[in-house]
Structure formats: C-alpha cells, structure tokens
Symmetry: C2
Subunit: 133 residues, 2 copies
Amino acid sequence: MSRTYSISELASEFDVTTRSIRFYEDQGLLHPTRRGQTRIYSSKDRVRLKLILRGKRLGFSLAETKELFDLWDETLSGSEKQLNLMLKTITTKRAELEQQLNDIAMVQLELDSAETRCREALTELQQKKMTAE
Amino acid sequence: MSRTYSISELASEFDVTTRSIRFYEDQGLLHPTRRGQTRIYSSKDRVRLKLILRGKRLGFSLAETKELFDLWDETLSGSEKQLNLMLKTITTKRAELEQQLNDIAMVQLELDSAETRCREALTELQQKKMTAE
DNA sequence: TCGACACTTTACGTTAACGTAAACTTCATT
DNA sequence: AATGAAGTTTACGTTAACGTAAAGTGTCGA
C-alpha cells in the first residue's frame, strides 16, 4: 500500500487551488477514492495531476488531456480498433510537439537578437554619458 | 515599398478568421493602416501576426504577447530603465521556454512508452488470433 | 447602373477554466 | 463543550478569445 495524499497536500505541492483539483475531478480527469466525504488521492492520482498541469503548460485543454486519459484507460483492455486509434493519436500528438519545438527554437532566436539589440542600445547610452561629462 | 496584404489574404495564409485578426487589432496587437475603411497590412504587420499565432501555440495569452510588443516598441527609443526591464523580461521568458522544453521532453518519453505498450498489446492480440485458427 | 462580393462596424452570445461566497460537516484540541 | 482548521457541496460570477448576426460601405466587371 503506497502512500496517499489529501487535497491540500497536492494543492500546495503543485501550487494550485483545491478548487482547481475538484474541478478536474468534476471534468472527469481525476477519480480519488473517499473516506466518508473526504477525498483521498493515490500516487496514481498524483501522477495524473502532474500530467494535467504539464499539459496545461503546453497549452492542452482539459478536454484534450481527458481524451488522452480515456484513450489510455481503454487501451488497457483494448480491442484492435482502440489500439490503432491510440497509435494514431500518439502520432498526432508527436507532430504537435514537433511544431512546438520549432516554435520554441524560433522564439529563442528572437530573444537572442532582442537581447543583443538591448545591450547595444545600453552601451550606446553609456557612451553618451561619457561624452556628456 | 514592399508589398501589402488584405485581411482575407492574411486570414487564409495563416488559417485564422478575419474576425480574429480584427480582434487582435482591437486588443492593440496590430495597427494596420487604412485606405478609407479598408485595412492594409504591411510586411511588419504580417510578421506580428505570425508572432501572435506562434505565441498562442506556446500558450501565451494575447495580453502577454502585447506586453512583449509594447516593451519592444519602447525599447527602440528606450531609456536605461526600459532597456533593463526588457532584459529582465527576456530572461523570464527564456526560463519559461526552458520549462516547456522539459515538459515536451517528458511528454515525448511518455508517448514513446505508450506506443511500445500499444504495439505489445497488438502483437499479443495477433497471437490469440493465430491460436484460434 | 446593377449586382455581387469583399470589406466594415456594432453588439450581443458562447465556451473554458476556474474564482468566490455561502452554508454546512468532521475531527482534533483546548 | 467549544473553538478552529480542513474538508465538503451548491451555485452564481468572471475573464479571455473569439463566434455570429445584422446592417451598412466600396468597388469592380457585365
């Protein structure tokens, strides 16, 4: 029996509100067990939450992430059709990630040239200061 | 004089609606010139639109992108304070991109293992088919 | 000159992802 | 027994990023 977590433990660990965590459950992304009314989160739930937040940082909607979760769950007991659908989805997601890698590379280049430009402007200002004295 | 673009040209090139492009203008991200009422977009406007969409794919809000644009514009005639603020912002954005690179790498690993798992399940199904015949 | 088509403004509607307030219940301490 | 901390449900509010409908303008080819 691996350890469990309370809602506020997870909330503070990942720096989200308890409201958000409950909302994710409401949307079918998490399924914690209960002791009475109180939610109890397993290590698997924790991993799922981590995946949700990672997806968010990459601009995935909750619905998209849910789709992936559902597909994955179905895959465990999957028919051939399910499995092939999963493979197709994986390919699609991979393409999206490639696109994002490209985007990031471009933005990094832009940041580089922006920084250079800034530094040049700064040294130019320093020059003016010097001549003014 | 480099070439100009109509709103629908840009819309179809980047696969967005004209509504979106006008909305970006409304939010202060684009400033096309006019010929009468009609908007005329320059190459610079086109680049800006490209940057907006790239930002979106990376999960930037329009407000964030606008901040960057504004900072950049101010930088051109920038005081020392402005320039240092710009450099700080650049550093922050760089950190965000690093985080996203990490996220993407993690997700790629997960996709890899997911694919492996799928393929294993598929060959297993094939085995069953064979023995059933 | 007459459509037809691309463009325009105005303005209300919509969806996602929560925030926030209200009004409880449980449980551990004092 | 009472207080306080952490949890719960219910439900209405909010913001971002457009969608969409309505009604008008401009201009070009037949």
